[in-house]
C-alpha cells in the first residue's frame, strides 16, 4: 500500500472522529449555560431531564451505541456505519444549537435537548470502534500501532478544538451576549455542521476496509455479531480481559488527566476561567505528539508494558501532582504586597430590615499571585445576629490569577497527566483490534472501550464528589477512585495480558 493512500485513510478517519469528540465535548463544557437555557432548577421535571442528559448519555447510551453500531459495522461494513454515526452526531449537535430556550417553548425545550444528547451518546458509541478498526484493517502489521495512534489523538484534539472555539467565541463578546437565549454559546454547535459536512464529503469517497471486503466476498461475515461476541466463551473471555486488564484503567487515567484536573484547578484551586483552560490547552498541545510516539514504540516493543507503565506512573504521582496544585494556589502562607478595592456598595435586603455591604478587591501577594476577592457583610438590626460575625460575613475568592512561573509549572504538571493519557491510550486501538477476529471486531472492541471510558472514566467526578463529601478532611480524597481502579487494572493487566503482537488480523 502506498504511503499516500494510508495517509488519506488515516486523515479521513481521524478528522471525522475528532469532530465527533468535539461535538460531544461542547455540550459538557457549556453545561452551565445549557442548564440555564434548557434545564431551570426551579422546575423539577427539567432538573430530572438535566440529570438524564448528563448521566444517561455517557453511562448507558454510549455502551448501547457500541452494541448497536458495532453490530451494524460487523453486518454491513465499517465505512457505512461510521458514516452514519458521523451524520447522527453532526445533526444532533447542530440541532441542539437551534432549540429555543425553556423561556420560549417551556418543557419541550429540555425534552428535545435530552433526546438530541442521547442521540449524541449513541453516535459516539459507534464511532470510535469503526474508525480504529477501519485504520487497523488498512495497516501493515509492523505499523499498526503507529497508524492507529493517529485515531487516538482525536479525542484529545477534539477537546482542544472545543476548548479553543469556546474561548475564542467568549473572548469576542460580553458574558451577557454569550449567555443570552440566542447568544454566543450556540456558535460552537452551529460550527459543527460545517465541520461534519466536510468530513462526510471526505468519508463518502473512502472505500470499505479490505479485510472486511474479503471476508464478505468469502461469505464469512457474522450473522449475529452480538451473540458471537458475548456468548462464545473464548471471545467473551477476551472481552472481559480487555475491559478489566486495560480499558478500565485507561478510562480513569484519561478522564482524570483531561477533565478532573481542569475542574480541580477551577473549583478547588479557584484559578480563573481563562487560565484554567489555557493551562490545559498548552498541556494538550505539548503532549499530543506522544500518542504517535507510544503507538510507534508499541510496534517495536509490544503494547502491554507501555500501557502498564502509564498506569503505574499515574498511581504513584497523582497525589503529589494534585497536592502541588493546592500548594501553588494557597494564599495562607503568603504575604500581601498590595491590596486594591475595586468597588464597595451597600444595599437593603428585600425585607428592608437589614443591609448588606459588599466589597470587591484585588490582593497581590509577594509571589505575584493575584486574588480577586468578594466579601459581603450583613448589617443586621437584630443584636443576636450582629454578635455572630462569622455567620454574617461571606468571603468568596471569585478567581485567582497565577504568576507566570507558577502558571508554567502547572502547564508542566498537566502535561505530565496528559503524558500518562498518551501512554495508556496511544497503543490501545491496535491492542484491541488484535484481540478479536475481523467478523466480530467492531462489536467486540467497541463495548469494552465504551464501558471503560464512558462508565469507569465518566464516574471520576461523581465518585470524587462522593468521597470528598464523606471524608472531608482530605481535599485529595477524590483521587482514590481513579488510583484504585488503575491499581486493579494494573494488577490484572500485568498478570493476565500478553505482550505479543498479533501480526495476522485478517481472519
Amino acid at each position: 500500500m502506498k504511503p499516500t493512500s494510508i495517509g488519506a485513510i488515516i486523515g479521513a478517519s481521524s478528522v471525522g472522529t475528532m469532530i465527533e469528540w468535539y461535538d460531544f465535548y461542547i455540550f459538557g463544557m457549556l453545561s452551565t449555560t445549557i442548564s440555564t437555557q434548557f434545564f431551570p432548577k426551579e422546575n423539577p421535571t427539567a432538573a430530572l431531564l438535566s440529570t438524564l442528559a448528563i448521566f444517561a448519555a455517557g453511562f448507558i447510551v454510549r455502551p448501547f451505541g457500541a452494541l448497536v453500531f458495532g453490530r451494524l459495522g460487523d453486518l454491513v461494513g465499517r465505512k457505512h456505519t461510521f458514516l452514519l454515526t458521523l451524520i447522527l452526531m453532526g445533526g444532533a449537535t447542530f440541532l441542539i444549537g437551534c432549540v429555543p430556550g425553556y423561556n420560549s417553548i417551556g418543557i419541550a425545550a429540555p425534552i428535545i435537548v435530552l433526546l438530541l444528547r442521547l442521540l449524541q451518546g449513541l453516535a459516539l458509541g459507534g464511532e470510535y470502534g469503526g474508525a480504529a478498526t477501519y485504520v487497523a484493517e488498512h495497516s501493515t502489521p509492523s505499523k499498526r500501532g503507529y497508524y492507529t495512534s493517529w485515531i487516538q489523538t482525536t479525542a484529545t484534539l477534539g477537546l482542544f478544538i472545543a476548548l479553543g472555539v469556546i474561548l475564542l467565541v467568549k473572548k469576542n463578546m460580553t458574558d451577557i451576549s454569550f449567555n443570552k437565549e440566542w447568544g454566543g454559546w450556540r456558535y460552537p454547535f452551529w460550527i459543527s455542521i460545517l465541520l461534519v459536512g466536510i468530513s462526510i464529503y471526505i468519508r463518502m469517497r473512502m472505500k470499505e476496509s479490505p479485510l472486511y471486503t474479503a471476508l464478505k466476498k468469502e461469505g464469512k461475515t457474522s450473522i449475529n455479531p452480538i451473540t458471537e461476541s458475548f456468548r462464545h466463551k473464548l471471545n467473551f473471555k477476551m472481552v472481559l480481559l480487555a475491559l478489566f486488564g486495560a480499558v478500565m484503567g485507561q478510562g480513569v487515567v484519561w478522564y482524570t488527566g483531561q477533565f478532573y484536573a481542569q475542574n480541580f484547578l477551577e473549583t478547588k484551586c479557584n484559578i480563573g476561567f481563562e487560565q484554567s483552560r489555557t493551562i490545559l490547552l498548552w498541556a494538550i498541545l505539548f503532549a499530543t505528539p506522544f500518542f504517535i510516539f507510544w503507538g510507534w514504540l508499541s510496534d517495536k516493543i509490544g503494547r502491554k508494558w507501555i500501557m502498564m507503565a502509564g498506569l503505574g506512573l499515574a498511581i504513584f504521582t497523582y497525589r503529589p501532582i494534585f497536592s502541588y496544585f493546592l500548594d501553588g494556589t494557597t494564599t495562607k502562607t503568603l504575604s500581601i504586597k498590595e491590596e486594591r478595592v475595586l468597588s464597595e456598595k451597600m444595599e437593603r435586603t428585600t425585607s428592608g430590615k437589614d443591609s448588606v455591604t459588599s466589597t470587591e478587591k484585588t490582593i497581590t501577594y509577594t509571589n505575584g499571585l493575584i486574588a480577586k476577592e468578594t466579601r459581603s457583610d450583613t448589617l443586621s438590626n437584630d443584636p443576636a445576629l450582629r454578635a455572630l460575625q462569622d455567620a454574617r460575613i461571606k468571603l468568596t475568592y471569585t478567581q485567582k490569577q497565577l504568576p507566570s512561573p507558577i502558571y508554567w509549572k502547572f502547564v508542566g504538571l498537566v502535561f505530565l497527566l496528559i503524558l500518562y493519557v498518551t501512554m495508556v491510550y496511544g497503543p490501545i486501538a491496535a491492542f484491541l483490534v488484535e484481540m478479536f477476529p475481523t467478523k466480530i471486531r467492531y462489536t467486540s472492541m467497541s463495548l469494552p472501550y465504551h464501558i471503560g471510558n464512558g462508565v469507569f472514566g465518566g464516574l471520576v467526578p461523581f465518585i470524587g464528589l462522593l468521597l470528598t463529601t464523606t471524608y472531608t478532611s482530605d481535599p485529595l480524597v477524590g483521587l482514590w477512585y481513579p488510583i484504585g481502579v488503575a491499581v486493579l487494572c494494573l494488577f490484572i493487566g500485568m498478570l493476565y495480558l500478553d505482550n505479543k503482537i498479533d501480526k495476522k488480523i485478517n481472519n
Binding site: 473464548l234 488484535e434 484481540m435 462508565v455 464528589l465 498478570l495 493476565y496
Partner: protein, 81 residues
Amino acid sequence: MSAIKRYFGLILLLLAPLVIFELVTGALQNIDHAGKKDINNPVIWIIIITIFTPIAIGLVIFGWYAFRGEYDRLPHSSQEL
C-alpha cells in the same frame, strides 16, 4: 505464575459483590431529597447501580475463569477465537 493468577481470580470474585454493596450503602446514606449535590440525587444512583451491576457480574465471571485457570494460556492469534 499460574497459581498467582488463580488466587488473584479468587480476590476478584469477592471484590465484585463488595463494590455493589458499597454502592448500595453509599446510595442509602447519601440520597436526600432536600440535598442539592449530585450524590443526593436518587436518579443518578439508580443509573449507576443499574449499569454497574452487570459490570460487577462480568468481574465475577472474569474472577471465576481466572480461578479455574482459563487465563493461564491466552490465544496467540485472533484466529484461535
